[in-house]
Symmetry: C2
């Protein structure tokens, strides 16, 4: 086999796992960090900043766009990217709801 059995899990479980998987690559973390750091639209210098080939960066940007947390805007021959602040808040809430769970320390473990 080798294909995740999404159908046996809840929508929440699938949604959270999908979001986590998109964050699960250092290049995508680096891209997001750079977008926050410049705090402006980043137009075309991502390849130089990250250090991967242009098609690879394009592929990572596509996944971030698919998740919805970045937006692209065509500006001549360039494309400018920035964080979708609305979607970022939603992502934050999604993770917070999961990570803020608390467990009591049990003697058995």
């Amino acid at each position: 086999m080798g294909v995740t059995k999404s159908e046996i899990f809840t929508d929440y479980q699938n949604k959270l796992a999908l979001a986590a998987r998109v964050l699960g690559h250092p290049a995508r973390i680096a891209i997001l960090q750079h977008l926050f750091k410049t705090d402006s639209c980043v137009c075309g210098d991502l390849v130089g900043v990250i250090g991967l080939a242009q098609p690879t960066i394009s592929q990572h940007l596509k996944e971030l766009k698919n998740l919805g947390i970045i937006k692209g805007n065509i500006d001549g021959t360039r494309v400018c990217y920035c964080i979708d602040t609305q979607k970022w808040e939603e992502l934050k809430e999604l993770f917070a709801g999961f990570l803020n769970q608390t467990a009591s320390d049990k003697s058995c473990c």
Copy 2:
């Protein structure tokens, strides 16, 4: 190719991405939810709860253990699992530090 170029990224980027990737499967989300929900040691009923084969569950548990967020404790023929609350707090901080970044809304995007 096909192998992530970890060496071009920072330790933080690699660490966060690794943690996110471990959370990036619905079965592992489901396992963690179950551990929190029962708020006690879960001994042996995970296969029935999640709905995947025993070796598959064992494999997912191994990844969660490798990340350090769950602990296992041998109890006769069974193994009891629970959340490592210390490590969970660290994970929470790791994600919070990243997710709490804010961006201003820019007109270009």
